[in-house]
């Protein structure tokens, strides 16, 4: 086995270029996904007991929860935007020997996102 001589990157390499920073932010949107999974677990766990669920419901109006939701929403929207931007690279569609325009796939996925979001909000609020 040969050993490569690699110079370790400085810890702040991702702060040195906007593109690197955007990449790191994109990867760190996973923390928002993680945090929201914990909230769902809390909701499922507390739903067995009306008192425990009441504590969760009250917490959602707490300023700590509101600030966390602002941060999570920003990261979630960035995740959605970057994920949709990648769809034409993952799904290459062909129509009559012609490649379907990447912009068309991005547009279709964006419309799908809006329909799903509207449906979820409608289902909860109706």
């Amino acid at each position: 086995m040969t050993r490569e001589l690699t110079k370790p990157l400085p810890w702040n390499w991702w702060l040195k270029k906007t593109a690197y920073f955007r990449f790191m932010m994109r990867e760190l949107t996973s923390l928002a996904v993680f945090a929201y999974a914990l909230l769902i677990i809390w909701a499922l766990w507390s739903a067995a007991d009306a008192g425990a669920f009441s504590a969760l419901y009250t917490f959602l109006s707490n300023s700590l929860s509101l600030w966390l939701h602002v941060v999570i929403l920003a990261l979630a929207l960035y995740h959605t935007a970057t994920w949709i931007a990648l769809t034409p690279k993952v799904t290459v569609l062909w129509r009559n020997d012609e490649r379907v325009e990447p912009g068309l796939i991005v547009g279709a996925t964006s419309i799908l996102f809006l329909i799903i979001s509207g449906a979820v909000i409608w289902l909860v609020l109706m």
């Binding site: 739903a47 509101l66 949709i84």
Partner: protein
């Protein structure tokens, strides 16, 4: 050193992609519900409780916890490696184990209802 291919890698990548798609499509709307609709009083405590207690909702929520956690595990552990924290990031079991435990806890919570 023999390097046999890691046969679990495609599975974790698939879960990463599935969780990435599920969260990209659903997370902003869910955050709107718990971060705007609930504090604004558009959804009452009773309505939210009966929604969470609905078996169909529970099934979806446990599925989302499973996908969200495995998406996080895969992406976050490689982000740590990129940040120079490879000693933590390379301990795969720590992340996939956390995701598995979280999924089991969510599943048990749903069964308890």
């Amino acid at each position: 050193m023999s390097s046999s291919p890691d046969r679990s890698a495609p599975l974790f990548w698939l879960l990463f992609a599935g969780g990435g798609t599920a969260s990209a499509m659903l997370l902003p709307a869910l955050v709107f519900v718990t971060g705007v609709a609930v504090p604004a009083g558009w959804v009452s405590e009773n309505d939210l409780l009966s929604l969470v207690r609905n078996p169909a909702t529970q099934f979806v929520l446990v599925g989302l916890v499973f996908l969200f956690l495995f998406h996080w595990a895969h992406r976050f552990r490689y982000a740590l490696v990129d940040l120079g924290l490879g000693l933590i990031g390379k301990r795969a079991w720590l992340f996939y184990g956390t995701a598995l435990v979280g999924t089991i806890v969510a599943g048990l919570a749903a069964l308890r209802l």
